[in-house]
Subunit: 243 residues, 2 copies
């Protein structure tokens, strides 16, 4: 089973301080790019894998989605999501994404934000999602970029000209990476971008768009801490369609 770090109290407390936790979608600088990749939500049947506090589920509700199910492995996250949400059409479900079951041909959109890099068996999830989508349905997700996840020790190096660089090593060595992000021993999976893409294709998907996300000049001006994100992508956004 995938590690459920979100139920670690220290991690949960730290995560709660992030802009994307406090402000929701508008606190995530990649949201304009990610939302541009979404299909029309009016009347859509939607699943959110790793729904966290439920920000995206509420957005889908506002956009008129007909059915919205948020799945998360963290009971604490779901409790918080339920406390912020009214009634239907949103349903929150406790689920280990590696054992997820979804009804066949039942969904227009499967969405996931920064959750899938925790999973060991991503091909199994892609197969589950593929069979659950209606023909023409779409998977839109973000995950940590392999440039970011590759190094065994993650951190910037700065040269004598003050140029920040991200030291990439072990790119070809796919598998677990341990990082200390709000808590010690957070387990994530490093997977080449090629592997993400080839597994989607092998499971029947047609790739429609990929974005190795970085901030634009306006975003950096508004939030100078984003400046270093120009140097290397920390996340990627991807959409793939069931033909």
């Amino acid at each position: 089973m995938t590690q459920n770090i979100y139920d670690n109290p220290q991690f949960f407390a730290g995560y709660a301080t992030l802009d994307r936790s406090v402000k929701g979608l508008e606190g995530a600088p990649e949201w304009p790019a990610l939302s541009a990749m979404l299909p029309p939500l009016l009347g859509a049947r939607v699943a959110d894998l790793g729904c966290g506090y439920g920000w995206f589920c509420r957005y889908a509700q506002q956009q008129g989605a007909a059915q919205i199910t948020g799945y998360d492995v963290s009971a604490r996250m779901l409790e918080k999501a339920r406390s912020m949400t009214g009634k239907s059409p949103i349903v929150y479900r406790h689920a280990d994404l590696e054992k997820l079951q979804l009804a066949a041909d039942s969904l227009d959109l499967v969405y996931s934000s920064l959750a899938l890099h925790y999973l060991e068996n991503i091909s199994g999830l892609f197969a589950t999602v593929y069979q659950a989508l209606k023909p023409g349905g779409i998977l839109v997700f973000s995950a940590e970029h392999p440039i970011y996840t590759a190094p065994l020790v993650q951190g910037w190096v700065v040269d004598k000209t003050s140029q920040k660089s991200w030291p990439v090593n072990h790119y070809q060595a796919e598998g677990v990476r341990i990082s200390n992000w709000f808590a010690a021993g957070v387990r994530k999976q490093h997977r080449k971008l090629a592997t993400w893409i080839n597994l989607l294709i092998a499971n029947g998907f047609t790739l429609t768009h990929i974005d190795e996300w970085g901030p634009d000049a306006q975003q950096i001006a508004a939030n100078p801490a984003l400046d270093e994100e120009k140097e290397r992508p920390m996340i990627f956004l991807l959409s793939a369609r069931k033909p």
Copy 2:
């Protein structure tokens, strides 16, 4: 027009010493992976963009291709290719790939090895290739990987544990990169992997496979100089189909 560094005598002399120049396809460690992405060549109509010495054209001839045209911007390379090749079905043509014209629906395979990262206008070339392929035809190419091309100054850093890393910076800043590889001032284009892929999709292609190539254990044992290539991909291989 794209820089034609291959006609620089110093560059040409240096390039001639590479394993991939002396030994041909078998001297290129990515060849087993790249050749596995090719369609059956028997009876195929093939173009090789940036054919160099013509190694691939001769391979296609051996495999029974019906028509093979090798294009290159370097008159020196073409002269060498012609001197090593017999007669039909291979034809060599002098061409700037950014101004290439190809007959519509005429080809089963367009192949290119480590040439396209020199081009400024890659979308124009993809459009040309797309219209030249028959339905079901395929583009198979390799190019320098953006992890490799991103940094303004390319070179390994080594930490106090002797770990080699490739310092990535300016990943989001697409455009020209100047390197000194056999000659000063070699101009290449840095392009995000997402950009390569999205331009293929925008031009009508369906992505079929991508390989962020690295050596396997056997290759490293046979050629220890390849060991560092585990740390970051220097090239990628990609195939895309015209539906």
